[in-house]
Amino acid sequence: MNFTFTDEQKLFKEGLDRFLEKNFSLDARRKMVEAKESNSEHVWTGLASMGALGVPVSEDSGGLGGAGIEAMIIMQHLGKHLVLEPYLSSVILAGGLVDLCGSEFQKKVLIPELVAGEGKLAFAHSEQLNDEGGEILHTTATQSGNNWVLKGEKKLILGGATADRFIISAKTSETDDKSAGVTLFIVESLDEKISGKAYPLIDGSRVLDIQLNDVELGPECVLGAIDQGQSAIDCVNDRATAAICAEALGIMEVIHEMTMEYLRTRKQFGSALSQFQSLQHRAVDMFINIEEVRSLVMHAAAKAWSESEYERVRAVSAAKALTNRAGRLVAQEAIQLHGGMGMTLELPLADFVRRLLAIELMFGGERFQRRRFADAADEGSEKTVFVSPKKQWKQI
């Protein structure tokens, strides 16, 4: 057990931080939001040239390797700088699916583009937004000769508006088990049978809803084994959840530092706010919460790429449950300790608070994650993640 970053990790971390410091700013972000953009080419290609878009895609698949810890480093910095780029959606979610399930040919086509920053992917999965943990897919893929026909609706596609291709989940068999009979498909976003609508979330990021109007696909568009998609979906969702917790950690660190700075400089009743003991103790509780999140973010980063489903689910759900609770506390206390200034859209605090809120609402609430944590079956600890039709991919 070793908590020290390797030299390589440290260099990567510092390089990333310097790059984002120089090439991205909150002003730039606000302009992008105003202009309804969620991706800027120079940042994206910069990330590509640093190798960030090839992490954590396995080397076997044409990626640059690395795994949870590297993804954590990247996401924490995207959080620190409040970057809008679709790294989570394109690389971790959709890229992860290609990495896990793709044929040699599919990988050869998609991964190099992804790594080079030349092609973006998005994962189109959600359909109902109002049944946490109980969602049922209604999108169907039916066979027509050699081809498949997709019909249905997908909602809240992260990174959807800028994606070149979608990975789409659809029911290919009717079963009582709601997680069975799901197959993944690769679809060009330009397909004319797809219509859609992009719109902003509370944090200014943009998502896409699409209709699949009898989209016809050849057999080469099937990603992974027929009917066997669910376990890969669970796997990338968990990795993305671990990753977004790391982003939240980066955000909370900034919020805390902003708040400490405010307390040190703002005066009331003739003293700096930092002299009031009740505010000091609340600042300490923010700090403790953040340190606890840091611990579980590391833990989840290490286990989200684990082959044990039990370990993965426990670590990821623990991290998200705690991140939600702590994130809410940190944001609320930051606003309160800023007083009226904390309520303004003008301070950078606003953007960080809103992104943190969006993260809280994504990938499962606190109570859901705790139930999932408690229900994770221990016997799973010996099970491998899922059965792939091809040989086992290497885990780094």
Partner: protein, 398 residues
């Protein structure tokens, strides 16, 4: 002691419900219930309806246009009208400077301002906080210099709610200096249309325009617009702040939002079943409902002990603290029940003229914004930390 409602009080509840059902414009109540954006026009329509009924300042003495209702009647009115979607009236005239003028205003001031305030012709806003003077209000810097028959005001107020709608502002200004910073503060009434006043919007966390900066540059205010004595404005300010605390509990609105929370928990599912049927959510909702019941009983208890016309004691700070905490927890729990369907953020959809579709669920759309907006409640009207200081010093003697 009999804390059941009397038959008379029950009949009064029915009378209120009946009146509100008939006279509250249905488009206004729908907007309120769905958390859409409320315009000045919307509030004014309800204001006028109440004015015409004679219920616009029901707690005031009859000779000033009031109904002399006691605190139980005022509470019943709050709860019943809020439940049916009545918008919150602008409090700055009716609940704030109005009572100040009743107690401290000259007869001329009363005759000049009260009739227009009651009819809704003249709207007020409050000029208290300044950029450097939030919790430490008495450190304010806006100055008023006496020049002939006028004061000339220079300085800046901030967090001025609905200044953009107001015709008049009552403000605390510094007219002299004293050993203590509370000395030399005066209260002035000032026309918002005066030359030299500039209103600059401040957008809040939710992206809305509710509060403003108000800048004063050589603004002339006639000396007859001084309230009470020059230099004695601080005691008036405190009178007003303690009044604010009782109203700020917001029991009526919170009861309405609790109903809304339960509706959300029926519509939204959790693990395939309505969220309200999940014991964890049910427990959290019940906890909040019990806390709200305790708040309601406390409001009635504190109000009753004040009697009619009495000044609320420092205990009223409890109502501010718990009232706002409950308001905030309601928005949190609503958000939690709505989950990811509250992610889309389309402010245009909360206005009057939206005909487009709303991604997510329509009812969930404004929840995140409301959650953010409601964070203000523990900051305004004296932060909850200040309220705790008040209780510590003035009730507990620490």
């Amino acid at each position: 002691m009999d804390i059941n409602f009397t038959q008379e009080e029950i009949s009064f509840s029915e009378e209120v419900r009946d009146f509100v059902s008939k006279h509250l414009p249905s488009d206004v109540s729908r907007k309120v219930l769905e958390h859409k954006r409320i315009s000045k026009e919307d509030v004014l329509r309800w204001h006028v309806a109440l004015y015409e009924k004679g219920w616009i300042v029901p707690g005031w003495p009859e000779r000033f246009g009031g109904c002399d209702w006691n605190s139980v009647y005022l509470h019943i009115f709050d709860v019943e009208s809020s439940a049916l979607g009545a918008p919150r009236l602008s409090p700055f005239g009716l609940n704030m400077i109005g009572p100040v003028l009743l107690a401290h205003g000259t007869e001329e001031q009363q005759n000049t301002y009260l009739p227009k305030m009651l009819s809704g012709e003249q709207w007020w806003c409050q000029g208290y906080s300044e950029p450097g003077s939030g919790s430490d209000l008495a450190s304010l810097n806006t100055r008023a210099e006496r020049r002939g028959k006028s004061y000339v005001v220079n300085g800046q107020k901030t967090w001025t709610t609905h200044a953009q709608w107001a015709d008049m502002i009552f403000c605390l200004v510094r007219t002299g200096s004293g050993a203590r910073k509370q000395e030399g503060i005066s209260m002035l009434l000032c026309d918002m249309h005066s030359p030299g006043i500039e209103v600059r919007p401040i957008l809040t966390l939710d992206g809305e325009h509710e509060v403003n900066e108000v800048w004063f540059e050589d603004v002339e205010v006639p000396i007859e617009n001084l309230v009470g004595e020059e230099g004695k404005g601080w005691s008036i300010a405190k009178f007003l702040l303690s009044h604010e605390r009782t109203a700020i509990a917001g029991v009526g609105v919170s009861k309405r939002e609790l109903v809304y929370l339960k509706q959300l928990a029926s519509i939204h599912h959790y693990l395939g079943k309505p969220a309200k049927d999940d014991p964890v959510f049910a427990d959290r909702i019940a906890e909040l409902e019990i806390d709200l019941l305790a708040l309601e009983m406390t409001v009635l208890r504190v109000a009753a002990s004040e009697g009619s016309g009495g000044e609320p004691g420092p205990e009223a700070s409890i109502l501010k603290i718990r009232g706002t905490e409950i308001q905030q927890r309601l928005t949190e729990l609503q958000l939690e029940v709505a989950g990811q369907s509250a992610l889309p953020h389309l402010p245009m959809a909360w206005g009057d003229h939206w005909l487009g579709e709303t991604p997510g669920a329509v009812h969930s759309a404004p929840l995140a914004a409301r959650y953010l907006n409601t964070r203000k409640t523990s900051i305004y009207g004296g932060t909850n930390e200040i309220q705790r200081n008040i209780i510590s010093q003035r009730v507990l003697g620490l």
